[in-house]
């Protein structure tokens, strides 16, 4: 810190100063342990009563992974997920939307690599009615030709908007680089113009018949259940869903090519360069996960982490750069196919065009310094205090708790995983965190995607020696 000489007109504060207070004794808090049960139709239930949370969150996991989409029909899982709420055996699409909103509810469904997730949020007083609509959507979707045709058209209209968004364009280019062309992960989750255009009601119905059934599904329900007869409500709604039993599909192992290289997606005239630098690494089933979380936080979890300390707070190159690990798909080591999962480990942010070369140079210097010198104990301590300490804040709402419980189910983790993770983080030392983050972000095994003005950034980036540079059109 500079000790600037005080100008003559500097204000003299007249307030009374006190020493920095020390915190009191922490109050006990634990990540909620859900109750696990099963309906007669085979649907697994996880419930958690959270007093005071008037908006109840429901998350339904359907084991319908993207890699089970038929060849050439990428996007059919997405269209099916959206079509669940476009009419049932009781309501037309417009009536269904109106009934949901009459409950004050929101219903979202999306398809990702592990499967389809349907999320309902509704005030507790109207939970039974909304559960009825959710059950109708899962149990008896109508998939009318005209609605599927409309959803396909709508999806085709969305694609140019996604392509124009620098962050989404970067994520798309990174997936294409990292994964082999034969892997579903190399291709856009919601399909391309070519594949989406082929989807019709028959394809959606076939995908539904193949993958959507209560026996392989899980519903997570979290909120304040005071005055709600949850058992009765569930029996009347999700309990009425029927379907055959079937083995869930077997996932294939995730493989990726992380040889260091650079792809520039050309955006002539762009005032900023969007960066996405990544590779594939350990998921939550790996012992290293807590140390990887800790080390990644120290590298780029917040604006006082190593990357932003230089790139933002010293140089002003960016509004913020973050490092993160995001599980792509996961299966338990004890499952028949063994551990097949992986997480995307990445650094993302945007820097002004002129600073692209210098910012990447500084970023690599941060990584090299980290590998050479390791984390400090003080950094490790602050990171643990933050990651463990924020848990009660992070899980204040029903939606946050339900989301994490559903992620655990989707990744075949035990119900107490998150609760145990906090204990494991607290036990992770500086040396382990350093080793984990250095092996998560090796300087010569990172694929760099830059969405920006190639005419201005290609030469400075080539000079950095961080890998061969390829330019593709935007």
């Amino acid at each position: 810190m500079t000790d600037a000489t005080t100008p003559a007109d500097a204000p003299v504060s007249t307030m009374e100063f006190h020493p920095q207070p020390r915190g009191g004794a922490p109050k006990p808090w634990a990540f909620p342990a859900p109750e696990r049960s099963r309906l007669a139709n085979g649907l697994t239930l996880l419930t958690s009563h959270r007093p005071g949370q008037q908006v109840v969150a429901v998350e339904v996991n359907l084991v319908a992974p993207l890699e089970t989409e038929p060849e050439g029909l990428d996007g059919v899982a997405t269209i099916m997920a959206r079509a669940l709420s476009e009419g049932t055996d009781k309501h037309t699409a417009e009536e269904f939307a109106a009934e949901l909103e009459r409950c004050g509810a929101t219903l979202d469904a999306h398809a990702d690599h592990p499967g389809v997730r349907v999320s309902l949020e509704v005030p507790a007083s109207r939970l039974p009615r909304a559960l009825g609509l959710l059950a109708d959507a899962l149990r008896a979707p109508a998939f009318p030709d005209s609605e599927i045709e409309r959803l396909v058209g709508n999806r085709l209209d969305e694609i140019p908007h996604e392509l124009a968004n620098p962050a989404r364009r970067a994520a798309m280019a990174l997936s294409k680089e990292l994964f082999p062309a034969t892997s579903r992960m190399s291709r856009p989750r919601q399909g391309t113009e070519e594949t989406v255009a082929r989807i019709d009601a028959a394809a959606v119905r076939a995908f539904y018949d193949a993958h959507v059934r209560p026996a392989t599904g899980t519903a997570v329900i979290v909120g304040d259940f005071t005055g709600v007869d949850l058992d009765a409500a569930l029996a009347d709604t999700l309990g009425a869903w029927t379907g055959s039993t079937a083995e869930p599909p077997k996932p294939t192992a995730v493989v990726a090519d992380d040889a260091g290289r650079v792809v520039i997606v050309d955006r002539p005239g762009a005032v900023q360069t969007q960066l996405l630098i990544g590779r594939v690494g350990a998921d939550r089933h790996d012992q290293v996960w807590p140390a990887q979380v800790l080390g990644t936080y120290c590298l780029g979890g917040t604006l006082t982490s190593r990357l932003d300390r230089v790139l933002r707070e010293e140089k002003g190159y960016t509004y913020g750069v973050r490092a993160f690990g995001q599980v792509l798909r996961s299966s338990a080591p004890s499952s028949p196919e063994g551990a097949t999962g992986a997480a995307l480990l990445a650094i993302s942010g945007s820097v002004d065009t002129a600073s692209t070369g210098p910012a990447l140079q500084d970023l690599w210097t941060v990584l090299r310094t980290l590998a050479a010198e390791g984390l400090t104990d003080a950094e490790r301590d602050v990171a643990v205090q933050n990651l463990v300490g924020v848990a009660p804040l992070k899980y204040e709402t029903a939606a946050a708790v339900a989301g994490t419980l559903a992620d655990q189910v989707e990744q075949q983790l035990p119900d107490d995983y998150q609760a145990q993770l906090y204990a494991r983080l607290a036990k992770t030392g500086t040396v382990e965190a350093t080793a984990a983050v250095v092996s998560a972000f090796p300087v010569d095994r990172l694929v760099t995607v830059l969405v920006g003005d190639a005419a201005q950034i290609a030469e400075p980036v080539k000079a950095l020696g961080i890998g061969e540079v390829t330019v593709v059109s935007g």
Binding site: P21, G24, P26, L163, R189, Q272, S350
Partner: protein, 448 residues
């Protein structure tokens, strides 16, 4: 320290209560207890926003907000962030037209730290403020502007429509992010003068919500904030009053490299804090909120002329609020076809008014949005500050949903008839310059 309202529950407040207090230096304090989770939120609203900025210094309130995180007498450099995060808390600050807010959510046992930190910068920021942090944060804010507005399709639509909706010289004519030229022009002396003018205990409201002991909390507030001197340098913002309606359509067509045609509009609506604003909120929800709204059903479902269509309400207390229409066209559809359909739906609604089912749905949606905002201690703290700063009474936050539920269908129809008219809006039309080809037809979820 005089005690304000006692903590008695009001009808329709969902069991929430709040008490009000005022320090001798003018700092207003609002407390609300909730012991369900061991967390406490601290929220501090300064009654200053971009509407207080002067010509040539747009963006100063927001740039200044960044400087508030660069250290004060007892907090070095990034210490504010480091200490809060190291205590297991989360924090940030934001700047809007009408206010600047700073907030921390802490594990309950670390509440005192957040109060100490906020008091330190309220009382002694200028001791630490120097050129180095100004130059650095100027670059950070310029990159924030590029990232959020200049490098995104339609990113400057909000700025353009705001400038069209409020005339040149009006305090709301420019948005909080400011212009690049003005950000470049801001000096250290501007920042110092801004602090001396607006950052004073008598120009702020502090709310503390969650698992707190009210007596202990008030004692800490008195200890840390009580000796900060008040001052009266602040001039009231320029008058934001305008006639109820614009009287003529204002229209701009821009040709930009955007992925599809778009029709956006801002309608002039009543000031926040009035029954008419709540009626307008219901009208916009029925017309353009969610997937059972009239515009969604017409444009997205039936005509299939839009990929997305919706209305939003930007509530403003010191100037007319704005009703925000955003329609992104489907491939090949021309704007006049969309505009004709929008006008037809708005005219029909003004003529017929809402159906009972539409009223029920809109009120249920707005009620859930309120429950969501009140579901966290930080959301509650922010709403208490909002009603205290903008309307002089934090208790109004606890009954806001009741006021929305009390609006009649006739009030909704009346406001639609009076305000949702073509001659009461600014219209912004986007025409794409380049035909986007299908070369890279891929998409992916943005990695987070």
């Amino acid at each position: 320290m005089p005690m304000g309202h006692t903590a008695t529950e009001q009808a329709g407040s969902g069991g929430l209560t709040a008490t009000e207090h005022r320090l001798a230096n003018g700092l207003r304090v609002v407390l609300s207890e909730d012991h369900l989770t061991p967390v406490a939120a601290v929220c501090l609203w300064y009654d200053v926003g971009s509407r207080h900025e002067v010509k040539g210094r747009t963006g100063l309130a927001h740039l200044f907000e960044h400087l508030m995180f660069q250290g004060s007498a007892q907090v070095k450099g990034n210490g504010h962030f480091e200490l809060v995060q190291g205590a297991g808390g989360s924090l940030n600050g934001t700047t809007s037209f009408e206010r600047t807010n700073y907030f921390e959510t802490m594990p309950a046992h670390e509440l005192e730290l957040a109060l100490w930190l906020e008091a330190d910068r309220m009382g002694s920021l200028l001791v630490a403020l120097d050129d180095e942090s100004l130059e650095n944060q100027r670059d950070v804010v310029k990159n924030e502007r590029r990232q959020r507005y200049d490098n995104v399709p339609y990113g400057t639509a909000f700025e353009k429509l705001t400038a069209m909706s409020y005339p040149e010289g009006h305090p709301y004519h420019h948005t909080p992010i400011g212009s690049m030229a003005d950000l470049d022009a801001a000096s250290l002396e501007d920042a110092r003068a801004f602090f001396r003018t607006y950052y004073a205990p008598n120009n702020a409201v502090l709310s503390i919500v969650g698992d707190i002991d009210p007596e202990q909390t008030l004692a800490w507030v008195e200890k840390y904030f009580g000796s900060i001197p008040s001052h009266d340098g602040k001039q009231p913002p320029r008058d934001g009053g305008l006639p109820d309606t614009i009287g003529d359509q204002i229209r701009t067509v821009v040709a930009e490299d955007v992925p599809s045609r778009a029709l956006m509009a801002a309608y002039r609506l009543p000031h926040d804090g009035t029954r008419e604003a709540d009626a307008a909120d219901l009208a916009l929800t029925i017309l353009g909120g969610g997937e059972s709204s009239r515009l969604y059903n017409r444009l997205v479902r039936r005509d299939r002329s839009a990929v997305a269509a919706g209305f939003g309400l930007l509530r403003l207390a010191g100037a007319p609020s704005l009703g925000w229409l955003d329609v992104k066209a489907s491939g090949g559809v021309e704007v006049p076809a969309i505009e004709a359909a929008v006008d037809e739906e708005l005219a029909r609604f003004a003529e017929e008014g809402p159906t009972p089912e539409e009223m029920e749905r809109a009120q249920a949606q707005l009620e859930r949005e309120w429950l969501d905002r009140l579901a966290t201690v930080s959301g509650r703290a922010d709403e208490l500050c909002r009603f205290a700063v903008l309307f002089g009474d934090p208790q109004l936050a606890l009954t806001a949903v009741q006021r929305v539920l009390a609006i009649s269908p006739l009030e909704v129809q009346t406001i639609a008839k009076a305000r949702l008219r073509p001659d009461n809006r600014a219209v912004l039309v986007y025409e794409p310059t380049a035909q986007t080809d299908a070369a890279g037809t891929e998409e992916e979820e943005a990695a987070k």
